[in-house]
Amino acid sequence: MANQGIGQAVRRKEDFRFITGQGHYTDDINRPGQLYAVFLRSPHAFAKIRSINTDAARKMPGVVAVYTGKDVAADKVGGLICGWTVKDKQGNPHKAPRHDIIAIDHVRHVGDQVAVVIARSTSEARDACEAIEVDYDVLAPVTDVRSALKPGAPQVHADAPGNLCYDWEFGDKASTDQAFAKAAHVTKIELVNNRLSPNPMEPRSAIGEYDSGTDSTTVYTTSQNPHVIRLILCAFVLGLPEHKVRVIAPDVGGGFGSKIFNYAEETVCVWAARKLKKPVKWTSDRTEAFLTDAHGRDHVTHAELALDKDGKFLGLRVATMANMGAYLSTFASAVPTYLYALLLAGQYTTPAIYAEVKAVFTNTTPVDAYRGAGRPEATYVVERIVEAAARELKMDPAEIRRRNFVPVDAFPYQTPVACVYDSGQYAKALDEAMKMADYANFAKRKAESARKGNLRGIGICAYIEACGIAPSAVVGSLGAGVGLWESAQIRFNATGSVFVYTGSHSHGQGHETTFAQIVSDKLGVPMENIEVVHGDTALVPMGMGTYGSRSLAVGGSAIIRATEKIIDKGKKIAAHLMEASVDDVAYDKGIFSVKGTDKQVPMAQIAFTAYVPHNYPADLEPGLEASAFYDPANFTFPAGVHIAEVEIDSATGVTTIANWVAVDDFGNVINPMIVEGQVHGGIAQGIGQAMLEGVVYDPKSGQLLTASFNDYCMPRADDLPSYKVGMIETPCPHNPLGVKGCGEAGAIAAPAALMNAITDALGTEDINMPATPQNVWRVIQRQNLAAAAE
């Protein structure tokens, strides 16, 4: 037992099925009599649909049905929704133009659904798709935010004039203006946060199934939050009774945000299955994933930092244009607003902050939350401009940060952008990271590189994020359409083993282990006797799912509340068995005892007694189970420092990561092995963003040029270094586990750390992500030319 509880690197319970090929991902599931759906997708970025002829396709072998948007409309199916309403500067709600699950009169991005073929096999459905004739009136598209905001730009939606979804502001403009008026120095920066494709390795997949005898519908889908999908499908899109719909998200092969959302394809599978009374299955191929999985980031930002003569930050001003893509995805509106501007204080005491965000429609794939969602973009702005300011003022970048950190004795700390930071030790993380990175001897290593003719740079990123999403009342007041609590249920069996039902969903995070550790620790049940159940709305009573590093802080807290209820009931049973008063019963690690005596009863006996209540308190219900909901009091604020060191071959522009140090404060750590794994994965995605990845659209045709792994550069093993990961633990003061969340930190910290290192090496801020060898080489050539001209 001692090595299985909280704080131990317990090996994962879920691994056996995965390493032996026995996982059950959605595409591994086949239902009797199932049919296969294949979508015909728009080859154009923007076009009016004049007509669609499906006659030939209907006659193809194996074809059961061909549906277009008109068939869907005839059944009065609602459009896909955005679940968070952002209000603009005037207080008007954002523009959320209708998003049909199959396009009716216009297609608005390459890959938009135009028709669906349902056939007895995927290959027959695919063949029939090719026989559908669509007459398009091709329109000129617009793919980037700057062009989309220009007068006369193509209008993606008639009901979103100027392609503006909203023009939003946050913070105190007047006090920020005053701060700039008295500044000794102002640093300005232009930043592009490149568009990314999330690319979980498992492509999306869904099966809709209808049982007409009971009028019930089952949906298997690759989701991070099956209950949320059930709610959206029932209440908004298909109008089904929620108690007649079961959503199962079985093993899910990664999500990173992209599997939060309600998508057209799963919705079509459900609709068609009900129509045909046969299971309908769809599995995305990788090209479809690039075309239709919600993308991430895509910001263009101008930022200004006001400083006094000593390098103290006085004010920050940020203007961002955020690309929403062709339609507003499920939580898209919240990402560049409440998940972004509220983090612009960073780890610093900047007293005045003002942000303006224009969200813009374009003829591109919808953009929504991707690992970090808004917080990486905020961190990128803050940490790039802080580094740039240090360089302009010829200050040590570590020192300028230290001068501005929120000090340890200032918590709880109210920022000027609404957050109340609950705890943190920012300077300690920086000191620790500098030690691990041997920051003091960097100059020597740089000289060494210079002798070889190479450039060397070092970059710091001191990030903060708001996780543990989220206090329902707070997000409700900001426009969220749902509550963001989590639920848990713990059920003992008569033999002493335990089911733990959680509304969180694990798609790589290892909840089956971490959550079992918590229960093992609190209830004294061996790990092997605990089964964590998730991902099925029929088994787990309620849930809100996994995103925003919330599972442990919110879902884990709900589990703790349920263990407390179990212990309370157990005390009553124990008191009866030991003939003592409940007040005299003590509980510790699975043992109930009578204070001051040697009488004791173990948890297993309590469970047995609860189900075989032959000798039992008269006024107590049998059974040993408890449910709990947890709604967090505040966000949690994980923070830390990453330091990247790079060496650049000045002849080729190839950047090698020479060292990577991460020191993170996630509060208490339940399983350090799993937490480190989360950090590694996050850093890899952050490095991917900074050096390799980027979605590219052809600006003229609107074609997606990076629609396969041939064209979109995913980080591979030989692109990446090993990482040095350190941790400090400042417990979160407002949740029972003292945890803060660790899932997104790496992806938030890494881009700024790496770009600060690369710009340090190059001696210019003027390079955008991804800093590919070609981009880096160009900067070096430009500098060589300029030097030669002098």
């Binding site: 390795m201 396969s708 093993a717």
Partner: protein, 156 residues
């Protein structure tokens, strides 16, 4: 039109009538219900589908089932012997080299082949050799550790 294909999969001879365009990965997943072999892309880039054909790692999405006629194929389901995990499987669990598990079968099959060819691989060799296997979750750090440890365990 269908053709008859016979392949020995995990020691079992299997004959199926399939469409000529059936890929080996489809043969395994759809005809034999061996769903441990995954499909992560359509351009032979990701390596989620790696199996062994006559002892060598091959991306099963790149060859037709008919091309494997008469061959001996081992999939992730056939790696453990007599209920005992292969040392590479053990190493992946011990070193937390998987998160969502989707890349894992292909990763392990590639790693076994790598270790057979390089019994004592350096970190650099492992990183280079794993170029054909994408993982979006782990950042590769622990995979590299696991492959080195697994190779060592295979040496015995």
């Amino acid at each position: 039109m269908t053709i008859s294909v016979t392949i020995t999969v995990n020691g079992q001879q299997e004959t199926r009538d399939v469409e000529p365009r059936t890929l080996l990965v489809q043969f395994l997943r759809e005809h034999l219900q061996l769903t441990g072999t995954h499909v992560g892309c359509d351009t032979s880039q990701c390596g989620a589908c790696v199996v062994h054909i006559d002892g060598k790692s091959v991306k099963s999405c790149t060859i037709l089932a008919a091309q494997a006629q008469g061959a001996k194929v081992i999939t992730i389901e056939g790696l453990a012997q007599d209920g005992k995990l292969h040392p590479m499987q053990e190493a992946f669990r011990e070193h937390h080299a998987l998160q969502c598990g989707f890349c894992t079968p292909g990763m392990i099959m590639s790693a076994v082949d790598l270790a057979q060819r390089n019994p004592n691989p350096s970190e650099e060799t492992v990183r280079h050799e794993l170029e054909g296997n994408l993982c979006r979750c782990t950042g590769y750090h622990n995979i590299v550790k696991a492959v080195m440890a697994g190779a060592q365990a295979m040496r015995g």
